[in-house]
Amino acid sequence: MIFSLPSVFTRLPRRALVIGLASAFICACSPAPMHAAEPFRIGLILPFSGLSASTGAYQLAGATLYLKQHKNMFAGRAVELLVRDDQGAPEITRRHAAELIANDHVDVLVGFGLTPLALAAAPIATAAKIPMLVSVASSRKITAASPFIVRTNLALAQAAEPMARWCFEKGYRTAATLVLNYAPGHEAEEAFAGVFEMLGGHTPTRLQVAAQTPDFASALLRVKEAHPDVLFVFVASSQSGVFFRQLQDSGLRQAGIAVTGTGDVVDEDVLPALGAAYGESLLGFVSAHPYSVLNDTAQNPPFVAAFAADNDGRRPSSLAVGAYDAMGLLDHALQKTGGAGDGQALLDALTGLTLESPRGMIGVDRQSHELVQDVFVRTVISRNGAFYNLPIARYAQIRLPPQ
């Protein structure tokens, strides 16, 4: 293509051309007084297909519940939620992030169901100066990847550390860890073992199983031989059925080894089905997590009821809460900035923000951009034939150090 000015330009007098261009430029640069009327666009990128598909479903349900309760308005601005399925593939996440920012002009990105997906989108958020709220993925590498990232769910270390403390206080002195062989799993193992050994315990047996097709039976056999006082596990909620079956077969409980873990393995979306399948052998399983349906906060019971009403009686999982709180944080941040949605200003309003959530009081840490929140140690109980996680200990306002 040969670049040449169309003939119309060469026919216009040059002065008129200069004035015309200058005025157009000035109009474009003037601050747009239309912010209040312009909708606030949120780009939600999550896996809705493949093994992580329930992640997308629960997050969307949580987000839409918040928007419905607040009539789709944040600080006087209408909210548009643009949802994209990245199918759990980082290349697709990256493409959606770029398209949402360039074509759809979103003001913020939310979601990211796995660590690689969040890491793929991080450079784009940094370059475009758009805040990125990570409401699922739980590795600490993510908050280090971009200054524009804010976490709204939890980093796995936040659940592992209180668990280690509780185990030590209970009197256990030797522990074994069993985690999935990927970033969040390694972090959970390091956090647990770090705190446990600092307090005076020992974690000689540290096992990692393949994340894709875990064979827990053989790893549990090794744990049984090592005979620690307590076993700490991190297993994704989608694998909890297989894990509990093999835990039962392994006879660890009969051998006198206590089993604890992060709350993912008994998360609210799988707990009813697990309870129906495993009944009594599930009772007394201790886990650590910020959210349970039985969390005793002012906002929780109405939240659980509203979620069940909108979603065929299902319970909100911690992922639904993560998305619900992401919307809440954005709402309050916009109220703080008076409706202006510019990248850096919005980010500054988000960091340091505190919010009352169904899980309790949460806040965004200024330096680490992690969420400061209460973590509860819960035990599985049976109530009216259904299974619940009952909080038995509270570790208040767990804050992670900046990286």
């Binding site: 297909s49 493949g50 093994l51 992580s52 598909a53 329930s54 062989n181 096992l207 990692q208 199983v209 393949a210 894709q212 097709t213 064979d215 039976a217 053989s218 790893a219 056999l221 090794r222 031989e225 989608s238 694998q239 059925g241 297989v242 079956r245 039962q248 077969d249 392994s250 006879g251 009969q254 979306d269 799988v270 089905a273 697990l274 129906a276 399948a277 495993y278 009944g279």
Partner: protein
Amino acid sequence: MIMTLLLNGLSYGLVLFLLSLGLALSLTIAKFVNLAQGLFAMQGGYLGYVLMTRCGLSFYACLPVCFGAGALTGLLLEALLLRHFYARSPLEHAGVSLGLIFMAAGYAEHVMGPSPLFIALPKLLQTPLTLFGATISLYRLALMACCTVLAALLQSAMHHTPLGAQFRAASENPALARALGINVPFLFSASFAFCCGLAGLGGLCTMDFLGMDPLFALRFMGIALVIASLGGVRGLTGTLCAALFVGVCSSVGAYVLPSSGTLVLDVCALVLLLSVSPEIFARGSRFS
């Protein structure tokens, strides 16, 4: 410890045997590369789940139902779809099977959801037993016993009954068998349906080992190919030995190097294939 590993591996291997028999069979008789055996396993597993949770059927009642459903689906699929592809190239066979797997995955995800599902075994089967110092549930033990009996029955049927003789003739030389008056298409349809029924049964049993999710057929395809390459596709004994080998290797590998996934199995299989020969577990005779 070794006994537990061995028993775990053998029980896993026997379930794999149930699932992979169909592949061996269709490759021998119809020369059709049927990678979609996992499909019937998925049907068996999901059907069992629905019957047990929504209709309240017991596990024991579900076993024949899943077998029957698998057999019926296999019969229909073979008659309506697969039969038309026998004359085509193996690549097209693989294409058809893969297409079926993806269709099944999408349908299963839409109807049953993307999360893995699990069933509650009867209390009796969940009892842990101690055998030679190994802890094993009654379920696994019963499974091993039943599969061994089944394999023995199939073997004796193959070699000591007239039907078995006809079957072996048809697999050796279909054209000649037809000329002798053996109804080869019927034999194949019937045995294919039987193998699909077995796969359905295997799918129900697998729900306890691996859980059932929409991508099961895809994952199983890899394992089935390993079994086929090690055990040959000539018949029972080869498939059985290969399946047991895969089961034990997976179990031992997961114990020795838990974080490596299927690496130990893959390396062992590769070493065997390269150093000895492919189909090392198949015996000399054509259909044994």
